[in-house]
């Protein structure tokens, strides 16, 4: 009896030490969230394991090689194009003076607000064989048929690379821009004094400096490209994600689909590793930076205009053109005719769902991040890493994997309720919006934990130590030091999560309750009826809402170094 009490006490003290003041419930939440994120993946792997060997053989011979090829080409192309445009533009606007530089620096991130599926629809309208561009060229040149001339095919891997890069390059641009702005200016100035050519400067200094940023930005862009189903399917590219669906739907084989999904997870893990590596390097270099901004040099002659062109084209392609198209279609249909009760209803649903998911995501994000900062447990670190997987899983795959666990919970609630009251309640999670909110939570939690972790890293541990010495309890460390200091990070995480929820399509489609439309499903509905333009208003609203966090990002990116510069001067 007494030995039992002793071991009990021993284990609680060692646990307490390891927890380092983090409340036990918060650690429990961390583990629970990790389990929640893992649940759909586990159910997916279980489904994959049920597939017959013959099916797997078929999939590996007939489906995988081509899908890997297309996915590989797509990823390589997007990496190349977003890399060149993102780094090039960031380097130009940071280290050079040319016409429109300031405006372009602020405009370059805007395409981030345009979802890939919307861009794909619009680009096909504009650049396809019977679109205005080719038709215009024909009447201009007197060509009569498509066979008379060469024009790049928009519905191809190359078209898809182009469409995706047009809206994904800002991930690289933003990361590189912040990097260039915060890097030691003296390094560049020394190189200049030593007579390094502009190209040499770029190759020998800018590129190595930008490498970690490149890793972070590229991995985000590539994850988006990999997850995409709308754009690649529409453009006729048979990526792994697209193959998952055709295998599942046409062969009635969820197992085969789950097997391809598992292969895809391998890609995802590589990309996440790349991103982690990038973050680690960046953290290292950030600690040694001297926050003084490089003096831009003047470009002369035609170089000035080439620089303007290089930076203006991405903005035009990724933002101005799609938005102009949407505005034109909205006006053509008459704004007042489209803003009816039904539309407002869908708008409110979208905002309500996204807001609920944002609050939930941030709440869990805070618990996750603060608990794993306080507790020195391997468990919480692992759990935090596990919680990061959600973002990488394609929406429909996530939704499919979630079906079983969600309904299992529903059945549990149902039978408990029936035992207590004798009534049937139906499906609580799947029958309400809760299912979608949980899917959003799993999918976008990494965005919250990412921003919050980055925010906490800037908080010196000394502050917390001071708090402890002054007798603050762990909970006070969180509420009085960590959370107040996290406020800016919280705000930006909230915006990012909110907008991603509004854009989310595939999980929403599959998990929404009856009669529930969001703006994204509205656009999709019109598109699947072959009348995408009828959904222009919904698409435009998605883009406009998406602009909010982008503008905020631009502000903080542009304002950050100035503040830093000011403090170093004082």
């Amino acid at each position: 009896m007494s030995t039992l009490a002793l071991t009990h006490r021993l284990s609680t003290t060692s646990l307490r030490r390891a927890l380092n003041g983090a409340p036990l419930w918060s650690v429990a939440v961390v583990v629970a969230v990790a389990a929640l994120v893992l649940a759909p993946l586990v159910s997916l792997v279980r489904i994959a394991a049920q597939g017959e060997a013959t099916l797997w053989a078929q999939v590996t011979v007939d489906v995988l090689p081509a899908a890997l090829m297309d996915t590989g080409m797509l990823l390589a192309g997007v990496a190349l194009l977003t890399g060149v445009v993102g780094i090039g533009a960031a380097w130009l606007v940071t280290a050079h003076r040319f016409p429109g530089r300031r405006a372009l620096a602020a405009l370059l991130p805007l395409p981030l607000a345009v979802p890939t599926y919307i861009t794909a629809y619009i680009y096909v309208e504009i650049f396809d064989s019977a679109g205005p561009v080719q038709m215009g060229l024909r009447s201009l040149m007197g060509w009569t048929s498509r066979g008379d001339y060469w024009f790049p095919e928009i519905r191809s891997v190359y078209g898809c690379i182009f469409v995706m890069s047009a809206v994904l390059y800002p991930y690289v641009y933003l990361a590189a821009r912040v990097m260039f702005l915060t890097q030691s200016a003296s390094m560049i100035e020394v190189a200049r004094t030593l007579g390094a050519s502009r190209f040499k400067l770029f190759r020998a200094i800018a590129i190595p400096l930008a490498r970690p940023a490149l890793a972070v930005g590229l991995s985000l862009a590539l994850l988006e490209a990999l997850n995409d189903i709308g754009a690649s399917e529409y453009l006729g590219v048979r990526t792994l994600t697209v193959s998952i669906f055709t295998t599942w739907l046409n062969r009635g084989s969820l197992a085969g689909a789950a097997q391809i999904a598992c292969v895809m997870l391998a890609f995802v893990i590589v990309l996440i590793a790349l991103e982690r590596r990038g973050r680690r390097d960046r953290r290292y270099s950030l600690s040694t930076r001297r926050p003084r901004v490089t003096q831009p040099v003047n470009l002369t002659g035609h170089q000035r205009w080439l620089a303007t062109l290089f930076c203006a084209v991405p903005v035009l392609m990724g933002f101005a053109l799609p938005v102009a198209f949407l505005v034109r279609e909205v006006l053509r249909r008459g704004l007042s005719a489209q803003v009816d009760n039904a539309f407002l209803n869908h708008l409110l649903t979208t905002i309500g769902l996204s807001a609920a998911a944002t609050v939930a995501t941030l709440a869990f994000g805070i618990v996750l991040v603060t608990a794993s900062r306080l507790a020195r447990l391997r468990l919480t670190k692992t759990a935090l890493a596990v919680a990061g997987i959600g973002y990488a899983v394609p929406g429909t795959v996530l939704a499919l994997g979630l079906l079983t666990p969600l309904v299992a919970i529903d059945t549990g609630i149902g039978s408990l309720w029936r035992a207590l009251t004798g009534e049937r309640v139906g499906l609580i999670l799947m029958g309400s919006a809760a299912g979608i909110v949980i899917a959003y939570l799993i999918r976008f939690l990494p965005i919250a934990t990412g921003s919050l972790t980055a925010g906490l890293e800037r908080v010196s541990p000394g502050l917390e130590d001071a708090g402890r010495i002054l007798g603050a309890r762990p909970r006070e460390l969180v509420t009085r030091i960590q959370i107040p200091l996290l406020r800016p990070a919280l705000a930006s995480a909230a915006l990012l999560v909110f907008v991603d929820c509004i854009k989310e399509l595939s999980a929403t489609l599959l998990l929404r309750p009856l009669n529930t439309e969001t703006l994204a499903t509205l656009v999709y509905g019109h598109a699947s009826r072959g009348a995408f333009e009828d959904g222009s208003l919904a698409a435009l609203v998605i883009v406009l809402v998406g602009l909010l966090p982008v503008i905020q990002l631009v502000r903080s990116a542009e304002a950050g170094p100035k503040k830093a510069g000011g403090s170093s001067a004082s």
């Binding site: 007939d62 489906v63 046409n250 807001a355 941030l362 309904v407 919006a433 509420t479 072959g530």
Partner: protein, 345 residues
């Protein structure tokens, strides 16, 4: 102790969630029928509205092109789904195979729908037919009769457009080809058609008409009703696409035209069985069938319904008599063959 703003935010989130959850459950008080559909409800909302007017039963719908059958299966005995409506025989057969349907015995349905267009055991019923036709350039193609087998004829080299052959409409056609000629011949056929393609398969059926207008190709596969939708839709550009083509109702060599269906099935755990049956029976009344014909440009399943004049102008449809259930069974094989010959690559 908790930060006040944060607590308020949490509370607001909880309230919003509760309200959303409540709105989902509140509907159970009135007479309703819950429709899961992989066909965009806007395409037959007129029919559903008329049904509500006639019966006072409210129709709740959820639309997704993918995954609904899986969802219903996962939802199990608490599933709110009463009926599943699909645009393809394969999908409705998939529902049967997943064990989520229940047999329905209804004189109204059996007398309105010909036997080959419904499951002998009453697990699914066709609501309308859609013929897989050939769009041909008005200017460049003189042929008036083409067989599906002809599409593999080298005379069409570089002249054919199509959407992905993994799309359900083309999978059903390929499965029908397997039923007709067997797997080996179908593989050869697929290789032949692939060799004739003007471009990689992409887009939808409407894009075939668009590509013909642009001179990318001369003929292509497309469902009949898209011609009506393009001609009378909201997009003036699509009217031009439709004007560039003629519709040829192809046949199998020595056979008839391949048709697919839109179908309906009652779900095993349907909570509103009676309302579901009312909806199913309503869908085959002359009034509803007329809407399928006139607003959707499809072929009604009920005999004696006037088809749309535009659709009539394509010629008289003689549907293949092969069992659609047989077609559906060969879907997986068809999909595997399409991958094997690398049709979409």
């Amino acid at each position: 102790m908790m930060n006040a703003t944060f607590a308020r935010g949490l509370l607001a989130g909880a309230v919003a969630l509760g309200a959303l959850a409540g709105s989902g459950l509140a509907a159970s008080a009135e007479e309703v029928v819950n429709v899961y559909t992989n066909r965009e409800p806007g395409l037959y909302s007129a029919t559903l509205d008329e049904f509500t007017k006639a019966t006072g039963i409210k129709v709740n719908a959820i639309f997704s092109e993918q995954g609904l059958a899986e969802r219903i299966r996962a939802e199990g005995e608490n599933s709110p789904a009463d009926v599943l409506i699909t645009v393809d025989i394969g999908r409705i057969q998939e529902a049967v195979d997943l064990g989520i349907t229940q047999p329905v015995k209804s004189e109204a349905l059996n007398s309105a729908i010909p036997a080959q267009l419904r499951d002998p055991e009453g697990r699914w019923f066709a609501l309308s037919m859609r013929a897989r036709s050939i769009y041909a350039s008005k200017d460049r193609v003189k042929d008036t009769a083409i067989t599906y087998e002809d599409l593999a004829d080298p005379k069409w080299k570089g002249k054919i457009c199509t959407r992905s052959f993994q799309h359900q409409y083309n999978i059903a056609l390929t499965a029908a080809m397997i039923v007709k000629h067997g797997e080996a011949a179908t593989e050869e056929w697929l290789k032949g058609v692939k060799a004739n393609l003007a471009k990689k398969p992409s887009g939808g059926d409407r894009d075939v008409a668009k590509d013909i207008l642009a001179g990318v190709c001369d003929i292509g596969l497309g469902n009949t009703y898209y011609v009506g939708l393009m001609t009378n839709g909201t997009n003036p550009d699509q009217k031009k696409w439709a004007e560039a083509i003629r519709v040829i109702l192809p046949t199998f060599k020595g056979g008839k035209t391949h048709v697919n269906i839109s179908g309906i099935a009652m779900m095993k755990n349907a909570p509103h069985r009676e309302n579901a049956l009312k909806l199913m029976e309503y869908m085959v009344t002359p009034a509803a069938q007329h809407v399928f014909a006139d607003v959707n440009y499809e072929y009604p399943v009920r005999a004696g319904i006037e088809i749309n004049p535009l659709v009539k102008s394509f010629g008289t449809l003689h549907p293949e008599e092969m069992s659609l259930a047989e077609v559906a069974k060969n879907r997986a094989k068809a999909s595997a063959l399409v991958d094997k010959v690398g049709f979409d690559r």
